[in-house]
C-alpha cells in the first residue's frame, strides 16, 4: 500500500504537541480521561456501578437529554445559546401526546407533527435573532418561559397525559436489539469505518497527499471495534442494546458527518469562527443562523419525545427542572466551545455520559442530591476553564 513516493506526516515533536494543546486542540482526551476516572472511582466504591444492569440503565437514561444536548451544540457552534431547549422539548412532547392520545392520531404522524412544531419554534427564534437582531440569550430566555407557559396551557387542568405502555411511543424505550442484530450492526459499523479509512487513504496517496503513519488508522479502527464490542458485550449480558441508544448514537454520527463533510457544516464552523470572514466569503450567514436554531429546536423536540417515551407520560414537569442545564453542561463538558466554532457532536455523547455517570454513581452511593449538584457543577466549571484557557492560548 505504501510506496517510496508517499509522504508521511511526521509525528509531532513534544514541543509542537504542547503547542497544539495550548491552542485548544485537546480533542476528546480530557473527557475520556474523566470517564475512566469516574469508572474507577465509582466502580471501586460500589460493586454495582459497573454491572451490566446499571450500565444498560445508564445507556437508556442518556438518550433524551443527550439528544437535546445535540441541539444545543448546533447553536453553541455559532457562538450562540439556546436556553429554550428544555421548554421546547416538553412542549413538543405534549403536542405529540395530545395528538396521539386525546385526538387518537397515528403515533408516527403525531411525532412528525411535534417535530414540525419544534421546527416552527426554532424558525421563530432564528428570525427574531437574525431579523430583529435580539441577542440569542434573550430570545431563548423568552422562549424558556413562554413555551413552558404554552405547555401548561395545552395540558390544561388535567396536568398529565399517560401514554399506554404497549403503545408505539412507550415501546421506543422498551425495545432491545436482539444479540445477533447488535453484533451485525457492530460488525457493519467497524467494517464501514475501516473501509472508508482505507479508501480515503488510497485516494490521498493517489493524489500525492501526505498520510499519517500506518499504525494510527489501524489503532483507530481497533479502538472503535473494542469500544463497540465491549458495549454490546456488557449490554447483552443484561437486556440487550436499547433501541434508544441506537437512535441517539445514529443521530450523533449522522450529524457529525453532516458537519464535517457538507458545505453547510463547513459554513456553520465558519460563522462560529469569524462571522465577518464568513460574510465576506459570500456565505449566507442569516440562513445558517436560522437553520442552526431550527435544528436545535427540532432536536430538542425529539429529545422531549424520547423523554416522554421513557416516562410513558407527559406532565407539567416535562422538559423542566434541570434538563436544560444538564444538556448545556453536557455539550460543554464534552468539549464544545461556548465561544463558537469549535466542537463536534461526539461532545453530546461524551458529556452526557459523564453527567449521567456522576448522577447514577451518586444515587448508588445514596449521596444527597445537594452533593450531586455540587460535584456536577465542579465538573462543568472545570470544562469551561479548559475551554477558556484554550481560547486564550489560541488568540495570543
Amino acid at each position: 500500500m505504501t510506496n517510496a513516493a508517499t509522504t508521511v506526516r511526521k509525528p509531532y515533536t513534544p514541543k509542537e504537541a504542547v503547542e497544539r494543546l495550548r491552542h485548544g486542540d485537546l480533542g476528546a482526551w480530557p473527557v475520556v480521561g474523566g470517564l475512566i476516572a469516574i469508572a474507577i472511582v465509582f466502580g471501586s466504591l460500589n460493586e454495582h456501578f459497573l454491572s451490566p444492569e446499571n450500565l444498560t440503565n445508564l445507556a437508556l437514561q442518556m438518550a433524551a437529554t443527550g439528544t437535546i444536548s445535540l441541539g444545543i451544540i448546533m447553536v453553541l457552534l455559532l457562538g450562540e445559546i439556546d436556553l429554550s431547549a428544555g421548554s421546547v422539548s416538553g412542549l413538543c412532547a405534549v403536542v405529540m401526546a395530545i395528538l396521539s392520545e386525546r385526538m387518537h392520531w397515528n403515533p408516527l404522524l403525531a411525532i412528525l407533527t411535534a417535530l414540525v412544531a419544534g421546527a416552527l419554534v426554532g424558525l421563530l427564534h432564528g428570525l427574531m435573532f437574525t431579523r430583529i437582531r435580539m441577542p440569542s440569550f434573550v430570545v431563548t430566555l423568552a422562549g424558556l418561559i413562554g413555551w413552558q407557559g404554552l405547555l401548561l396551557y395545552l395540558l390544561g387542568s388535567g396536568g398529565i397525559i399517560n401514554l399506554p405502555f404497549d403503545g408505539f411511543v412507550a415501546k421506543l424505550s422498551d425495545t432491545w436489539l436482539p444479540s445477533w442484530l447488535a453484533w451485525t450492526v457492530t460488525a457493519a459499523l467497524v467494517t464501514v469505518y475501516a473501509a472508508s479509512g482505507l479508501i480515503g487513504r488510497r485516494l490521498r496517496i493517489a493524489a500525492d497527499l501526505p498520510v499519517t503513519a500506518t499504525w494510527w488508522p489501524v489503532a483507530k479502527v481497533g479502538g472503535l471495534a473494542i469500544v463497540l464490542a465491549g458495549s454490546v458485550l456488557v449490554m447483552s449480558a443484561d437486556r440487550g442494546v436499547p433501541l434508544l441508544l441506537v437512535i441517539f448514537g445514529g443521530l450523533v454520527v449522522v450529524l457529525d458527518l453532516v458537519l464535517r463533510h457538507t458545505a453547510f457544516g463547513r459554513w456553520m464552523y465558519a460563522v462560529g469562527g469569524n462571522v465577518e470572514a464568513a460574510r465576506r466569503a459570500g456565505i449566507g450567514v442569516t440562513r445558517i443562523r436560522v437553520l442552526a436554531f431550527v435544528l436545535s429546536s427540532v432536536l430538542a423536540a425529539f429529545g422531549g419525545i424520547l423523554a416522554a417515551s421513557r416516562l410513558s407520560a407527559v406532565n407539567q414537569g416535562s422538559g423542566g427542572s434541570d434538563i436544560l442545564l444538564m444538556a448545556i453542561a453536557a455539550a460543554v463538558i464534552g468539549g464544545t466551545s461556548l465561544f463558537g466554532g469549535r466542537g463536534r457532536t461526539y461532545a453530546a455523547l461524551l458529556g452526557i455520559l459523564v453527567i449521567q455517570s456522576i448522577t447514577n454513581g451518586m444515587y448508588l452511593l445514596s449521596v444527597d442530591s445537594s452533593v450531586r449538584y455540587m460535584v456536577t457543577a465542579a465538573v462543568l466549571a472545570l470544562a469551561v476553564a479548559i475551554d477558556s484557557l484554550a481560547r486564550r492560548g489560541s488568540t495570543t
Binding site: 497527499l209 453547510f264 464552523y269 465558519a270 469569524n274 465577518e276 489560541s394
Partner: protein, 239 residues
C-alpha cells in the same frame, strides 16, 4: 488592463476623491501611497465594489464595466485582501482558502481535491506551511497573511488589491510577504498595493501612484524615483 477613470466621491461635506485616475496592467505592481485621508481607502473600495463613485468608473480592456457590489468586482476578476485578514482561525488552511467557494459534489465536500489544489497553489507561491490541515490560529502572522493572499487567487483573478499587507509583520515575515507579491507579478497578475511603508513600496513596486487630498498628486517609476520626490508628492512640499 484595468483602469479607474476620473473617479469622484463625496461623503457629505468631504470630497474624498476628485477626478482620480489609475491604470493597472498585468504583471505590474502599482503602489498607492498618500497621507491619511488622501483617499486611498475610498479609491480601493470603489475598485473593489464596496463603494459606488459619484462619477467616473472602471474600464476593463477598453470597455466600461459596472461594479455595484463586491460580488460584481470578484466576477470581473478583482480580488481584495483586506487589512484585517478575514480568516476563520478555527478552520484549517485548506478550508480558509476555499471558504465560500468549496469544491463539492452534491453538497459533499471534495476534501482531497481541495487539499491537492491548496497544496499546489501554496507550493507555486513558495508559501511554506508544514501542515496545511492545522487551524489557522496556529500559524505565524506572515503565514496568515500569505494564506489570505493565496485565498485571493482561488477565483483566478486578474487584479489583486492588497491593503497594508505588511502593517503588522516583523522584518522576516515582511520579506516573505514581499516575495509573495513578486510572485503574484510573475504570474502575470496586476497588483495594487496600498502601503504606508515607503521601504516596502520601493522594494516591490514598479510604479508609485501618489494621492493627496483626493486628487492624483504624482506618478513615478519606482526605479527612477528618489524617496525624497515621493515624500514631497505625499506631503505637497513640491507644490
Amino acid at each position: 488592463m484595468i483602469s479607474a477613470t476620473d473617479i469622484s466621491k463625496r461623503y457629505g461635506a468631504v470630497q474624498a476623491l476628485q477626478g482620480v485616475s489609475l491604470d493597472l496592467r498585468p504583471g505590474e505592481v502599482v503602489a498607492l501611497v498618500g497621507d491619511n485621508g488622501a483617499g486611498k481607502s475610498t479609491l480601493v473600495k470603489v475598485i473593489a465594489g464596496a463603494v459606488s463613485p459619484d462619477s467616473g468608473g472602471l474600464v476593463i480592456d477598453d470597455r466600461p464595466v459596472h461594479v455595484g457590489t463586491p460580488h460584481d468586482a470578484q466576477r470581473l476578476g478583482i480580488s481584495t485582501v483586506y487589512q484585517d485578514l478575514a480568516l476563520c482561525e478555527n478552520l484549517d488552511v485548506v478550508a480558509n482558502l476555499f471558504l465560500g467557494s468549496e469544491r463539492r459534489r452534491l453538497s459533499i465536500l471534495s476534501h482531497i481535491r481541495m487539499e491537492r489544489s491548496a497544496r499546489d497553489l501554496l507550493t507555486s507561491l513558495d508559501v511554506r506551511i508544514r501542515d496545511i490541515r492545522v487551524p489557522v490560529a496556529m500559524l505565524s502572522g506572515g503565514q496568515r497573511q500569505s494564506v489570505a493572499i493565496a485565498r485571493a487567487l482561488i477565483g483566478e483573478p486578474r487584479l489583486v488589491i492588497l491593503d497594508e499587507p505588511t502593517a503588522a509583520l516583523g522584518v522576516e515575515q515582511t520579506a516573505q510577504v514581499l516575495d509573495l507579491i513578486r510572485r503574484l507579478r510573475e504570474r502575470g497578475l496586476a497588483v495594487l498595493l496600498i502601503s504606508h511603508n515607503l521601504a516596502d513600496v520601493r522594494a516591490v513596486s514598479d510604479r508609485v501612484v501618489v494621492l493627496r487630498l483626493g486628487r492624483n498628486a504624482g506618478e513615478f517609476r519606482t526605479a527612477d524615483a528618489s524617496q525624497e520626490s515621493i515624500v514631497a508628492a505625499i506631503t505637497g512640499a513640491a507644490a
